[in-house]
Amino acid sequence: MSLTIADARKIAQLARLAPSDAELATFTPQLSAILDYVDQLRQLPTDGVEELAHPLPLRNVFRDDTLQPSLPVDEALANAPARTGDFYSVPAVLDAGSDESHA
């Protein structure tokens, strides 16, 4: 198996998912099987092949620096799970953890 439960747990943390132990026990072999399958790509020589991130060779698409109407604050916040005044209310950002900070 190419992926351990511990690996899967680490990825889940990075992806901000909290699978239960039982779920991890299901996900891990499934992900392992997929990873084993995709490992076939290694057989294909790709030295010197340019990566293709995007199918269309478009370049230089811009918009003008022109003001467009913003949403009224109530419409902007209409889908918010919690709201304090005209702000989104979220759990204390102090808990953001050691790997979280703006660059």
């Binding site: 991130a53 269309l56 918009r63 003001l67 467009q68 902007a76 702000f87 102090l94 660059a103």
Partner: protein, 490 residues
């Protein structure tokens, strides 16, 4: 260099670009709007919406990079930097990773030892996040999020660790701010967050054999004024040196540490230590297309830039101005408009030193007193030049000169009118002067006698009497010449 170590500082500066709208949508970038009133589905990261790049943001970023002597990449693209933060609604920041639009430049800063080039590693264009405010009064700690700032265009400018003192750090930021303001790239208002600085600091501690030991690097975050950057660098130098003396730990022994800065305590404080690198999972932003820049576009941007501060500073030290480095620095630091004013004054009086003194003393004092810019300054350059010429002609003393200046300022007249209204016309008529001189000779027999005995200095007393009689409005050189002639005839 009195310190037993050398500072090694690299600065990472985020500058908000002076666009009307955000980087990827048409919402306003104006500072201070009511919370969440300048947002739309795009900057709120709602499902299904797409970014489209603001051309003006790219142009301004390019202008900044060119001013920083950077190489502009012919091909650049954007990448997603993935991390979770409540004021980053997409939970990725659109930034640039391996192909920034510019790199390898430098900023020339003035130092006490002359100009110094600080290397620029790269400058790239990215979007800002919103603001989270921790609410202590909330139910067991909630934070409030305002997304108005989300998506504001930023250019991130990363310097090489070429900065070797707190003063150089300050000079770097002042020069950057001056340049970006002059170019119209950013207003660089640090208190409004449109220029933010993180400092990577360590020191090289000199060893008896002439080698050095490098201390572990600390990154000091969110410095919100140039003074705090200078102070934080100084503080970190002291702190790291004391720590090194105690534990001897070098850059190889400890990972990078992130520290905060307290303006109140004037101290840095520990935030966290990075044991492992953050995993941002960068990959090319599929919702944007790459940008290619050709020589013509670079030339077009360059043509809009005008003279940069460092160039200006150099030019003012060369003929015809030949100002001192200090004077050139003071003038340049006030911005292009003031330099242009100075140059007009010079053009009208042909005396650079006098023009500079008037501009950097009286004019600047007036601007500061009245809290106005040079554009609103009431005395046209030609009139100030006229004042300088009049003063040279008449030899009016400083006190009188200031009175004339004050009159011009208040009454908006030219120098000649002011002098006339104040009754400060110089006594230039030779016949009148000779009469006054003869009277003075007659009134000072002792001085005349001393002069005749060869005490040349004795003539000064007679000259003083002449100047008193003319209320100081006679040209001293003319008086001197005429006096000597009269004395010779005695």
């Amino acid at each position: 260099m009195s310190e037993p170590y050398r500072y090694v500082v690299g600065l990472e500066v985020h500058v908000q670009l002076q666009t009307r709208t955000k980087l990827f949508c048409g919402c306003s970038t104006q500072f201070g709007l009511p919370p969440n009133t300048a947002t739309c589905p795009v900057c709120c990261g709602m499902p299904g919406v797409l970014p489209v790049m603001n051309r003006q943001a790219f142009r301004l970023a390019m202008k900044a990079a060119l001013a920083l002597n950077c190489r502009i990449a012919p091909f650049t693209k954007w990448d997603r930097k993935n991390y979770y933060y409540p004021d980053l609604p997409k939970n990725y920041q659109i930034s640039q990773y391996d192909l920034p639009f510019s790199s390898e430049g430098y900023l020339e800063i003035p130092t006490t030892n002359g100009p110094k080039k600080v290397g620029i590693i790269r400058a790239h264009l990215e979007e800002d996040a919103g603001k989270s405010m921790h609410d202590e009064s909330g139910r067991g700690g909630e934070s409030k999020v305002d997304l108005n700032r989300t998506g504001t265009p930023l250019v991130e400018i990363v310097s090489k660790p070429d900065i070797n003192s707190p003063e150089e750090a300050g000079a770097y930021l002042r020069e950057l701010r001056l340049m970006l303001r002059e170019l119209g790239v950013s207003d660089c208002e640090m208190q409004e967050g449109s220029l933010r600085c993180d400092a990577n600091i360590n020191i090289h501690v000199w060893q008896p054999d002439g080698s050095y030991r490098a201390t572990p690097i600390t990154e000091v975050k969110n410095l919100n004024s140039i003074r705090s950057v200078e102070k934080a660098v100084k503080y970190e130098g002291d702190r790291q040196y004391q720590k090194f003396l105690q534990d001897g730990k070098t850059i190889k022994d400890e990972p990078k540490e992130t520290r905060g800065w307290s303006d109140v305590q004037e101290k840095t404080y520990f935030l966290r230590r990075k044991e492992t690198a953050d995993d941002y999972r960068y990959f090319p932003e599929p919702d944007l297309v790459p940008v290619t820049v050709d020589a013509a576009w670079i030339a077009e941007i360059r043509a809009e830039m005008g003279e940069l501060p460092a160039e200006q500073r150099k030019r003012l030290q060369q003929p015809p101005y030949a100002l001192s480095a200090y004077d050139a620095g003071v003038l340049t630091s006030q911005g292009r408009a003031l330099v242009a004013y100075f140059e007009q004054v010079y053009a009208g009086c042909n005396d650079a030193k006098a023009a500079c003194n008037w501009v950097t003393n009286e004019v600047l004092a007036t601007l500061n007193d009245r809290k106005i810019s040079i554009a609103d300054y009431p005395i046209p350059a030609a009139n100030l030049a006229g004042l300088i010429v009049e003063l040279q002609k008449s030899g009016l003393n400083k006190q009188r000169a200031r009175e004339v200046y004050a009159f011009m300022l208040d009454q908006r007249t030219d120098a000649a009118t002011a002098i006339q209204k104040l009754g400060f016309q110089a006594v230039t008529d030779e016949t009148t002067l000779r009469e006054i001189i003869r009277k003075a000779i007659a009134g000072n027999p002792k001085a005349v006698a001393d002069f005749k005995k060869g005490k040349v200095k004795a003539a000064d007393a007679i000259k003083g009497a002449v100047m008193r009689e003319t209320k100081g409005l006679a040209n001293t050189e003319t008086v001197q010449t005429l006096l000597l002639q009269e004395l010779a005839q005695e």
